[in-house]
């Protein structure tokens, strides 16, 4: 289609998105307005990534795109084209929980669990950059993630425990 035809057409053409999520390649034709979180949850059925606020505040939808933490409710699926994505489902390896998942479970780092996938993904990104963070650095690192029920102290304890485990 020529540019003027595109402009004139009321019909929005679909776009092709190719992503690798947790090591598996996916290809979908999607509407341009489809958000990354909707691609992950609704098109691909990976419902571990949650939607809380839907307006970039709570961080429940956090996933890693090419290693960087992003709020997937505020990124178009098409913007992730050709990217490597890691979601909470990709943390477990060979039926072994990730050290952060273990630490959250052992240190009461979650209660209802709604914020947990996002907390875990932000913590994965934090520890990749800073393997031995101070409690203050952990607070900063997860400051884009809100938890409404556990309270942050046990979450910080969990991240510290995981950091220690991963260093040993």
């Amino acid at each position: 289609m020529s540019m003027s035809e595109v402009i004139a057409s009321k019909e929005i053409s679909g776009v092709s998105v190719q992503v690798t999520i947790n090591g598996q390649a996916y290809q979908r034709e999607v509407e341009p307005r489809l958000l990354l979180v909707q691609l992950i949850r609704e098109e691909l059925g990976l419902t571990g990534t949650h939607i809380g606020c839907d307006v970039t505040y709570c961080g429940a939808c956090t996933v890693l795109v090419d290693g960087n933490p992003v709020k997937s409710c505020t990124m178009l699926a098409i913007q992730a084209d050709q990217c490597e994505i890691l979601t909470v489902e990709g943390l477990e390896q060979d039926s072994e929980l990730h050290p952060l998942q273990k630490a959250f479970s052992e240190n009461h780092g979650l209660q209802c669990g709604f914020c947990t996938p996002g907390m875990l993904m932000s913590s994965v990104a934090l520890l990749a950059e800073n393997p031995d963070p101070s409690p203050d650095e952990i607070r900063k690192g997860i400051s884009g993630n809100l938890c409404r029920c556990t309270g942050y102290n046990n979450i910080i304890k969990s991240v510290q425990a995981a950091a220690k485990e991963m260093a040993d």
């Binding site: 970039t56 960087n68 400051s143």
Partner: protein, 298 residues
């Protein structure tokens, strides 16, 4: 929440982006990190029919120091700038970038989008005023350089022509006997500042302030500056009385809008404290102290 439907165009080069934007006209927007635009679209504050995605254009996110100048590509993200050698060398840049929103927003949001949204709550425009930055803008009529202080016409409105894009930001590396500080007061990380202040000053022998630039963010419909306040301090030794007077003068020039972040009086009180803190840290940095500046949370 879905944005209203739109056509998506990925630009592979700056020229392609500019020709797409000029062909598509009023109904098109440039998309950088989307951390402002996508939020607005989801909330239906904006319903463009076309998005021209700039994010894959190569060569627009380099961060470098060449000679006595810093050059930052418009597509550099807040995170990339904060982790760069420029932020290591110039503490005020680190102060600013590291406090913008949270790690997730910093992964996506760009300095060009922060300028292009003409939002007085965005931190980079305020910071770049204190560094007297120049913006390179490229459009269908060619390339021009404008001062960051001339970019914003009014809240959410720049002087950029349709289809004109900011491509890079340049400023001089501050001299050795200078120091700066940028600080913002925020209610929590994923929130815009209640108010912010940036100060960059140079001290000659005897603590004579040979140069100073001050700016306030989230303090009116545009970045607030005050030549009068700067003139109080420029050219004489720094004294407490002088700093107090300059602080009062620039805070008086502010026009804070009462909103859910606080009343006008509250914001003036916050600004007053922020300017004093910024001057204090800037002076101590001039004297060679290493201070980790940061945004303040409640």
């Amino acid at each position: 929440m879905y944005p209203a439907p739109f056509h998506y165009h990925r630009a592979d080069s700056l020229q392609e982006a500019i020709s797409l934007l000029s062909e598509l006209g009023e109904s098109a927007r440039a998309l950088a990190g989307g951390q402002t635009l996508l939020v607005w679209m989801k909330l239906r504050f904006d319903e463009p029919q076309h998005l021209v995605d700039l994010s894959r254009i190569p060569g627009l996110s380099d961060i470098s120091m060449e000679g006595d100048e810093v050059c930052i590509g418009a597509l550099a993200t807040h995170a990339e700038i904060t982790k760069s050698a420029v932020a290591d060398a110039i503490p005020i840049v680190h102060d600013c970038g590291s406090g913008i929103a949270d790690a997730q927003v910093r992964s996506r949001g760009t300095i060009g989008g922060s300028l292009g949204s003409a939002d007085p709550s965005c931190d980079w425009p305020t910071l770049l005023h204190t560094l007297d930055a120049t913006l390179t803008c490229v459009g269908s009529e060619g390339t021009r350089k404008i001062s960051v202080s001339d970019l914003v016409e009014d809240i959410y409105t720049t002087i950029l022509k349709p289809a004109e894009l900011i491509t890079e930001i340049r400023f001089k590396i501050p001299p050795a006997n200078s120091g700066g500080s940028y600080t913002a007061f925020k209610r929590c990380a994923p929130a815009y500042p209640t108010a912010s202040a940036g100060v960059q000053l140079t001290l000659a022998d005897g603590d004579v302030c040979s140069d100073i630039r001050m700016a306030l963010g989230s303090a009116g419909l545009k970045t607030i500056t005050s030549k009068k306040a700067e003139d109080i301090l420029r050219g004489s030794p720094l004294t407490k009385a002088g700093i107090d007077k300059a602080t009062e003068t620039i805070v008086a020039a502010a026009e804070p809008v009462p909103d859910q972040r606080g009343s006008e009086d509250f914001k003036r009180a916050v600004l007053h404290t922020l300017v004093k803190r910024a001057v204090d840290i800037a002076v101590r940095r001039c004297h060679g102290e290493t201070i980790r500046g940061r945004h303040e949370y409640v």
